[in-house]
């Protein structure tokens, strides 16, 4: 017998955590029912920039205490289901359903928690946390306000990608960076230089086109401090703690290197927002 917490849970922010905590408070093992891709992407055809990858979403939900995560592929057929049909297919036999009070499902978003209550489920309606929302987090990250985003998330914003071969330029400057490839559906902050961490190492992260070198392709390049290892082909989750500065064009390379050295020093003294220090 389980409690099912249902929702998109993109970013697993503080509001999502309160839903999960309400589910855990029933004393039952908690199964999370979530969707992929984002229903708005499917229904409206607009790209919704995801705060977290699906992998990271699942990891965070399990870390918070979910016993099981079920990911339902969201398609136009899913969206067209009458809510009663969806409930019968996905929630049959589920005693307790927990969701945020604004949870809607099924065709024309007609289904809600009151309907599930009427269908015989015990419903735990979790009030929204004032001011905390995925869209507000997206806005803050777009602006480069990573501290504000971390307050909403309850942890730092992260970039989750794979390390691929890059321009090999950082190494020649004395700061070898990893070139992080991301799923194009993911939210990326405003271009600039950030302090953060990856693999328990502090990291200075450059996000943008490297204008000093006249680049025009977006690159995400973390430099892991005091790290000596090969990351090629590996998954890397990078926490972004604080925005340090805009991207710049320098008069010459020594000036660029001097600025990187200052960025690295500021990275050493940066503090992790939104939660307890880990790395």
């Amino acid at each position: 017998m389980t409690a099912v917490a249902i929702g998109m849970f993109d970013g697993v922010h503080r509001g999502h955590r309160s839903v999960l905590e309400a589910a855990l408070a029933t004393g039952l093992p908690v199964r999370v029912l979530t969707f992929d891709p984002h229903p708005r992407t499917v229904v409206q055809g607009n790209l919704v920039e995801l705060i977290s990858t699906l992998e990271r979403r699942v990891e965070l939900l399990l870390e918070l205490g979910a016993a099981e995560v079920t990911v339902l592929p969201f398609t136009l057929e899913t969206a067209a289901l009458e809510p009663e049909t969806f409930a019968a297919e996905q929630l049959a036999g589920v005693e307790v359903v927990v969701a945020g009070e604004d949870f809607r499902f099924g065709r024309r978003r007609r289904g809600d928690l009151a309907m599930l209550d009427g269908l015989g489920h015990r419903v735990v309606r979790v009030p929204l946390l004032g001011g905390v929302s995925s869209s507000e987090i997206r806005r803050l990250v777009h602006e480069g306000d990573l501290v504000g985003a971390a307050v909403q998330l309850g942890r730092p914003f992260e970039l989750d990608g794979t390390v691929v071969p890059g321009d090999q330029r950082g190494g020649t400057l004395g700061y070898p960076t990893a070139n992080l490839a991301l799923d194009p559906a993911l939210l990326v902050p405003r271009y600039g230089i950030y302090a953060g961490a990856a693999r328990e190492h502090r990291a200075a992260i450059s996000i943008g086109t490297n204008p000093h070198y006249g680049g025009n392709e977006r690159r995400i390049e973390p430099y892991l401090l005091d790290f000596d290892g090969d990351l090629y082909g590996q998954r890397l989750v990078v926490e972004l703690w604080e925005r340090l500065r805009d991207e710049e064009v320098f008069a010459n390379e020594p000036e660029l290197i001097a600025q990187i050295a200052r960025d690295v020093e500021r990275t050493r003294s940066a503090s992790r927002p939104g939660g307890i220090q880990r790395g």
Binding site: T26, G27, E55, L62, V71
Partner: protein, 241 residues
Amino acid sequence: MPPKGLEPSGIILVDKPAGPSSFAIVNRVRARTRTKMGHGGTLDPFATGLLLLLSGRSTKLAGSFVGLPKRYLTDVDLTATTSTGDPEGELAERHEPPPESELERLLEGLRGEIELPIPAASAVKIDGERAYRLHRRGIAVEMPLRRSRVDALEVIAYTHDSVRLDLLVSSGTYVRAIAEALGGHCTTLRRTEVGPFSVVEANEERIIPPERALARIGGVGSTEPPGAQEPASPAPERERQ
């Protein structure tokens, strides 16, 4: 006349055969009792043994029964790991079984308070697919560690290639994670006890009244001392291997 679906209320002990899912068993019993039906923790299709079903009004008591310690009997193939830690996964790696002294050392490290990774296949499902198939879709989830308590972990039988274990573990412990920690995978898994309830008492025809079931786990609302015997049952011998 009580509201429909709430009576009979109580606990039903079922010995699940290998094959059907726990939900298939719940549905089958529900079809007979015509009540709401919950459970005190599922078993994977390949596993057998004790399922605790909660009928009617007693589904509300699930919180008291899901956290009970569990006892299992499992055969571990020490010569290969699988993607799921059980026979349903794909062969991951074949290797020489550990020598007996090494096995003893590994077992000793698994007793007491331990941390084990949650088997991904248990925890993550995409559209009903078990997680091991998700690697093909580029999804690799890093499984967090779960704290478990292993109160007993005894060798019942041992050949060079396999070992049969009798385990008493805290609720939420994945036996497959223990098999994986030994470098093998479970070929059989049987749940012999859930808290004070033993699989030898399993009888789908009998409903244990909720107050009696709660008394046996020393739960809230008990009117009998904890551990009181269930008089309606034919005084079962507790399974001891």
